[in-house]
Structure formats: C-alpha cells, structure tokens
Symmetry: C2
Subunit: 398 residues, 2 copies
C-alpha cells in the first residue's frame, strides 16, 4: 500500500523489472522518473583516460580515479579524485540500480565538466558523436533510458546546430549545460541564440554546477565537503540570479530550464532576491516581472535536497507541477559501504524521508491535523508524472 | 480579529502606543519582539564621521551617506554608500516605527561593521562605552528596547571581560558578532574562550554577515543587489557550516546562537550538508552528531526571509520554538518612497504574506485541507514569545 521507494524496492526485489507486467496497487503504479542521473559514456571515458591534465582519469593502485575539480590534483590533503568504476558507464549496472530502487526511467546526462574544457574544434565533433552514442544507448534500453544531450558551448552557431540535431533524436529531450554557459555565466548575451533555438525546439536546458562559488572561503581543512555542499548550490543560485536579473528571459520567454539540486538555494532565497531587486531601480526597471515570477515560470527544479524542510520549500515556492525526482546517481556513494548514492539508498533519501511520500502519515506542523497523503496526485507528479508530461516520455510497460 | 501586522498597524494608528492599556482580542494581545533591528549609536556615528577611510560617514549634497562595503568608495557605477539619517540613531523615530508596525519590543544591535576594523586599543574602550550607551538607551525606553552588546574581537581576553560586563547590564541580552569572528571565521579555535564565557553567562551570540561570499562572481552590472541578496546569505551559511564541521560545538555544547536572515540558506541546505559530511570520514568521525543536529540544537533563527516558502522551510527545519521575528530595520528602505524597511512595510513582509500569520486561512498545499491558524500558539511564539522566553524579556504594559 505504500508509495515509498523502500516499498518499491521490496517489490522490485522479488520481481525482476523486465518481467513485471502490472503492479496491483496505486503505490506500485506510480512511475518514478530520475531526471538527475549522470553517465560518462565510453567515448568520453576514453578521452579522459588519454588526457594528461585535469579533467582526466588516472590509475592509482590499480583503480581508475576521476579528477575533475579545479586544482584537485594539487591537493595533498585528500586522496586525489574519486574512484570511478563501471557504474558510470555500464548500462546493465544502471538498470540494476534502477530496479533496486524502483526507478522506471532515467533521463541520462553527461556529468561535469562536459566538453567545456576542450577547444571548439575538439568539442564540436565530439558533441555530435556523444549525442549519437547517448541516443543509441536509450534506443537499446527498452524504454528505460532517455537523455539530455551536450553542446559545444565554445561556438554558439555550432551549439545551435547541435540543438537542431538533438531535437531530431528520438530519445533526447533536452540538453545539459554548465552554470558558466560558454564561460561567462548564463546571462551572457551571446547565449541568446542558443536559448532561442532550444525554446523553438521545445527542449529543456538542465543547468548543473561544476566550478563552485565561494571556494576560497570554505577552508582547506574541510576538503571538498563544503565545496560540494555549499559551493555547488551557491553556484547554481548565482548563475540563475544573474540570468534572471539580466532581463534575458524577457527576450526568450518560452525558454524552460531544469535546475539541479532543486535550484541550489533559490526556493529559499527567492523572496530576498525579490526584495533586493525591488530596492535597485537600475535592475527592477529593466525587468518585466519580479525575479520570483521568472523563477516559477521558466524553471523546473529537481527534488534533490536530502531533507523534507527543503523539499517543502521547493514545493511551496515553485509548485508541485514543476518538481521532478532526481538521485544524482552514481555520485555521492556511501563511504566505504557501497557505491549507491545516498539520495536513493539511505535514510537521507529525499522522498523516503518526506512525510507525504513515505509510509508515515502527514501531520501538519501548525495544526496537528493528520492527513494520509500517500498515493496523492502530488506524490505521483513529483515522482514521475511531471517529467513524463514536460519531457514527453513514454513509460515502459512493466 | 486578525493577527497580522497590518491589523496591528491599524490599531496602533488610532491609539498611540503609550496610552494603550490593553488590546481586546487575542490578535492584539500577541506581543511582537523584533530581534533583528540595528542602531548606529551617536558615539559610533561620531567616530564614523571622523574617519577618512571606509567605513565612514561622508556628506554628499548636504546628506550624510554611509559607506561600509569593502571597495564601495571605488565603485563609480553606483552612488557612493547610502543615505543615513536619524532613523539609525534617533530613539523617538524608532519608537514611532515600532508603533506604526505594532512592534512592542526591539532588541537593538549595532549594525555592521561593528568594531572589527579598529585596532584593539581603539576597540576595547569603545566597546565598553557603546555597551553602556546602549544599556542606558534601553533603560530610558520604558521597556521598549533591549540590546545585544558588541565585543572587541581583536583581543580574546578583553572580549571575554566585556562579555562579563554585558552579563551584568540590566537590558543587554547577548552580543552581536560578525561571521568572521576575529578575522578567521567562527571556527577559529581561539574563539573557544569567548563562546565558553557567553555560554556560562547564558548570553546568545547574534551572528550577522558583512563581507559577502562569492562577491567576485556576482557581476559588476548588478551593483550591490546580488551581494546583498546572495553574498550575505552565503556568508552566514559558510560561517556556520565551518563552525559546525569544526567540532567546536562539542567543546561548548551549551552555546546558543541567533542567525540573521534565518540562517542565510541553512534551513534549505542542512540536508545536503548532512549528506556531504556523511561521505567525508575525516569530518564525520570528529563530530558527535550530524550537522543538522547542531543546527537545530545550538541555533535560533530570525524570520527574515521575505516570502512564505522560506519561512515554512525554517519552521519545518528548526522547529517553531526556535524562530524569532525580525525586520532588519532601518535597512532596506523602499526606494524613493519611504525609509521603512520592506520587511515591515510592504507586501513582502515575511509574516504578513505567510498564510498562517495573515488574515488568510491556511490551506494545506497537498491535501487542500483548510485550517484557521490565526491566533495559534505558533504564531505568537514566532512573533515574540520565543524571544521573550529565550532572552528573558519583560513585555511593556500597553
């Protein structure tokens, strides 16, 4: 009777996904779509193995390690990089992960740092090859995979041409893009043609951090932890705030974005941003609306926040029809135990620990009123309904 | 019948506060305590007027302007500083503001940058003088003012001695402290004696940003807007995350902090911080608890978030008994119209726009269940009850 991932995992454990024809309860009938899940395609891994500078893949003690953070190979206080195994590129391992956690469909995207460190002449052909590889992988997955393509951001014309190619691919439903765009953040006016082309083609841009904001203030003694916990989320918040305050979205009002980590901190800070903009006539006078209006009209948010209070803020801010389940798989493996991301495999799972998604009933904090929201339309929308509707996905038969 | 500030303002408008003996409804009986409201005491203003470097007060076109942001006097893209009038130091104007907005008690604190830019020999005597001035002002206010003192952070022994003095002052209930502590953030081990002394005396430390985090990424074209909207909140988040991850709070478990701007972004990011720390054995192994436990046990949060979704996140995260109303008065005056802070005077007022505090009934987002929470114990606690209890304040008779 339960809607939770835990319950779906239990069901999946006794019935291999490929052989399941129908689930008998409302809970089990609710499809889960993971919109935030990353791959390093074999062609991309090969390129990283051949490189001698960061980003690169290097062997230590017989194990491949991925070094992607700026300056990470200079840092002697922590182990260099992180282990990178076949969970990042093996399709069968990914299907097994999805089955374990009751995830019906994954919308795969290349992980950071994408192609942004390459020259235009390297990035342009590689983008096309990788997008073809990704679409082929989705086609072969029996409906379990869709994808977000990658763009050669170094060349706006080439990026627009690649958007047109992606729009023709059967299983690619958008693009993944760094918060830095082509190196000058998302408010770079040179990106307008890319946004216009995406909007014309009805493709979403999944915005993901990589560089961090505030890095120099996090303290060497905290390793990469504050970089990942704070720097990533500050970066997304900064990029999107710049984009909104620039007025760019008045020029391309139909453009739609999906924000990693539920917008970084935007569901929490939107009110303060509105207030600060209202006090700055220079910015306010050039915008057709206040920031929070763009933030709810032009943006979708994943649910990847690891705790209920934040998920409640995202729901209250952007509305339950603009939130989409995500895991960040295969990143954030549990330390020393497994390589399962905590977002899918631990008590911190954002959905499992959120009362209205879990087997616990929902008690209103203020009134004490108890409601059983299991099986609600809201839970189903966030779990997969919104992604299926917005991205135009077919759910696989079970 | 309404609990909102708007209704209290209307009541105040027809009955001067000094002559009000009792309000007749539950709404009007709910005291409001503003824990985030700043002064530049006359002695401090005098010192700023005499300075030739930032921070300073300088006349432009016959108007005093306050220049406090680093590098602000070099920035030719915006007007230098901001107007600073008697709202920052005139006690009668402050009482009038409080009466207008139905605020019973203000807990006054010196605004940034406090004494942190002075030498120890300047800061030590000035701190004592300013704390005496502040306590005298509170004593003379007929119960309308309490205060948070200021410390000479340049000298830990002197700071501890000043904590002991503050504890003896009749109307000072804590201290205000920069996120940078004595220049090395709040996780600076040299601050342990200050925290221990505060904890022994039962005094709270109100943590407030000043420097910004991420400033170099905000783009010159956005003036100070992103610095204030994002940089301030990133700074508080960074400072407190460092403090928590350092293990300092295991050494001084009774220390209690109050966080400006509802903790910056911490109610939203706490789950992600927990997850990242759990993946970092170096940090996790030296902490007795996960970050979110410290963040709810050792910290109070003001309500200054300007929009309901964030306030709901703060309530859900820290609990309704650890949230306290604040306005940031007299900062954030509405542009060109008044010098009233938007937090008290506009549709963005965090409490007025939050359904459970306003005249609107509360409709559960998920279930559609409608509850009338006006006059709830929760509303009263956040409006003033928590501050009165935690800080030990007497409410003035009306």
């Amino acid at each position: 009777m339960a809607l939770s991932l835990t319950a779906r995992r239990a069901a999946a454990a006794v019935r291999p996904a490929a052989s399941i024809s129908a689930f008998s309860t409302a809970a089990e009938a609710m499809p889960f779509v993971d919109v935030h899940t990353h791959v390093y395609l074999p062609r991309y891994m090969q390129m990283l193995r051949e490189r001698s500078n960061v980003p690169r893949v290097q062997k230590f003690n017989g194990e491949d390690r991925l070094i992607i953070l700026p300056g990470e190979d200079d840092n002697s206080t922590t182990a260099i990089g992180r282990p990178i195994g076949s969970e990042y590129y093996d399709e069968q391992r990914r299907i097994a992960f999805m089955d374990t956690h009751g995830i019906d469909v994954s919308v795969l995207s290349l992980a950071n740092p994408w192609l942004d460190f390459l020259s235009a002449s390297e990035a342009i052909p590689l983008a096309s090859h990788l997008n073809d590889d990704l679409n082929d992988s989705c086609v072969a997955s029996n409906g379990r995979f869709y994808g977000f393509g990658v763009l050669p951001m170094q060349d706006v014309d080439a990026a627009c041409a690649e958007v047109r190619r992606i729009a023709k691919a059967s299983h690619l439903k958008g693009v993944i893009m760094s918060t830095h765009g082509r190196g000058n953040w998302l408010d770079d006016q040179a990106l307008l043609p890319v946004y216009q082309t995406l909007a014309e083609e009805g493709l979403i841009a999944f915005i993901h951090p990589h560089f961090g904001v505030g890095n120099s203030d996090f303290g060497d003694e905290y390793g990469h932890t504050l970089f990942l916990a704070l720097g990533f989320t500050f970066e997304t918040t900064t990029a999107v705030s710049r984009l909104v305050c620039s007025g760019m979205l008045d020029k391309v009002p139909d453009m739609q974005f999906l924000l990693a980590h539920s917008g970084g901190t935007l569901p929490f800070l939107a009110g303060r941003l509105d207030s600060c903009v209202a006090h700055d006539e220079t910015i306010a006078s050039k915008l057709a609306a206040k920031p929070s209006e763009y933030l709810t009209r032009n943006f979708y948010y994943d649910s990847l926040v690891y705790a209920p209070p934040a998920l409640e803020a995202s729901m209250a801010f952007v509305g339950t029809d603009r939130l989409m389940f995500g895991t960040d798989c295969p990143f954030f493996p549990a330390p020393g135990v497994s390589r399962e991301p905590m977002s899918a495999d631990s008590p911190l799972t954002p959905l499992d620990t959120t009362p209205w998604m879990s087997t616990t009933k929902n008690q209103d904090l203020l009134t004490g009123h108890v409601t059983d929201t299991r099986g609600s339309a809201t839970a189903a929308a966030i779990a997969g309904g919104n992604a299926a509707r917005v991205l135009g996905l077919q759910m696989p038969s079970r």
